[in-house]
């Protein structure tokens, strides 16, 4: 059980890190068309908003999918985890 828990924690860590890399790429494309000599505040605000809106979008989609699932199941199993 300790090994299993270790593996789960590490897998979860890795998933978070891949998500961070993915958001970095996505938000880099949305917010940094011309990298300048410094990270200006406009780009920084854009990056923070980009992360917040990406998570909002994920949550919006998961919630709406759960509702659709209840009404007319699209998938055979729950999407909640």
């Amino acid at each position: 059980p300790q090994l299993q828990q270790f593996v789960e924690v590490e897998t979860q860590k890795q998933r978070v890190q891949l998500l961070v890399h993915h958001m970095t790429e996505l938000c880099w494309e949305k917010c940094m068309d011309k990298p300048g000599p410094k990270l200006d505040s406009r780009a920084e605000v854009c990056l923070v908003n980009c992360v917040e809106r990406f998570i909002d979008t994920s949550q919006f989609i998961v919630n709406r999918l759960e509702q659709i699932q209840k009404a007319r199941p699209f998938f055979s199993e729950s999407l909640s985890n």
């Binding site: 996505l26 938000c27 854009c46 908003n49 809106r53 990406f54 909002d56 979008t57 989609i61």
Partner: protein
């Protein structure tokens, strides 16, 4: 388990496509028009996934019938 992995995969790709399509410059909140766009994008993406799955399966069956 594969059903869950499959749903996760769809979820990830759909989130990515709809975020790119509906969020121009990310603002201070997910406003109403963005939410509408995401909802529509989701529905169409799932339609597309369904249509593609069906088309692929019917092609597979035709191929098998010809063998």
């Amino acid at each position: 388990q594969i059903a869950v992995a499959n749903a996760q995969e769809l979820l990830q790709r759909m989130t990515d496509k709809c975020f790119r399509k509906c969020i121009g410059k990310p603002g201070g909140s997910l406003d109403n028009s963005e939410q509408k766009c995401i909802a529509m994008c989701m529905d169409r993406y799932m339609d597309a996934w369904n249509t593609v799955s069906r088309a692929y399966n019917s092609r597979l069956q035709r191929e098998r019938a010809n063998m």
